[in-house]
């Protein structure tokens, strides 16, 4: 019996979405320490990271 390659439709689910992910960039900006602490407190309350909180807020602000 001859050697055959595996049909691609028999390959299990792969993380193909990674291939289409847009490249990320880093944003740095300065804010007052008290404002940062306020954001941190809100993030903790909502069980989010600061990054998630700011991204979510900006999505609302920009109607995304």
């Amino acid at each position: 019996m001859s050697l055959k390659s595996k049909p691609l439709n028999q390959v299990r689910e792969l993380p193909v979405s990674v291939l289409a992910e847009e490249e990320e960039v880093r944003i740095n900006f300065n804010v007052r320490k008290s404002l940062r602490n306020k954001w941190k407190a809100v993030a903790l309350k909502q069980e989010k990271t600061m990054t998630e909180l700011i991204i979510d807020a900006m999505k609302i602000y920009s109607n995304e």
Partner: protein, 210 residues
Amino acid sequence: MKILALINEKGGTGKSTLSQNIAVSLHRAGKRVILVDADPQGTTRDWRSASPEDANLPNVIALDRPEMLASLKNVDADIAIIDTPAKAEKMTASVIRHANAALIVIQPSGADIWASAAAVRLIQQKQELGGDIKAAFVTNRVSGSSNLSREVLDGEWNEYGIEQLNSTIGNRVAFAQALTDGLSIYETKDGTGKAEIDLLVAELEEKLCL
């Protein structure tokens, strides 16, 4: 910078050994090469740690998170060779996303060929999404006398539309010895092994545009 990824989700196909020797060949040819160890097993890091201090080898960096791949473009080099882990889907998919070229490493074995289907699928998916990546198979640890080697080399099994390179790497102890000593095939007396890597690199430069 060009990025060449050596892939196959099956372990033990020779991805690390070939990554090291291809990187050394390009380094010796005057290219600025960075060898990226994306395998948590760290074989390529261990290889470099075992190297003599005065060895003429490319630098190795460790990359343990897929998110770090984007920063590779900031490295001052002509070529990055990425040694990928076995069975690490997100890392392999991320490497394929960033790579210009992929070399799928197989041995003359059904297990290696079947396991390569996952890499083929990711490469084809990237191409379908409009991504630019060239790919090829290379057969490692070929034993000229075995029927299975002949069957794999004749390429009848390959229905993926991805070329199988003419260059092959033989089943040579010198590769394992060089790796253990922290060196490459070029520091051994195995002239045939050196010639095999030379031919492979020439074919990679021609067909994968390194």
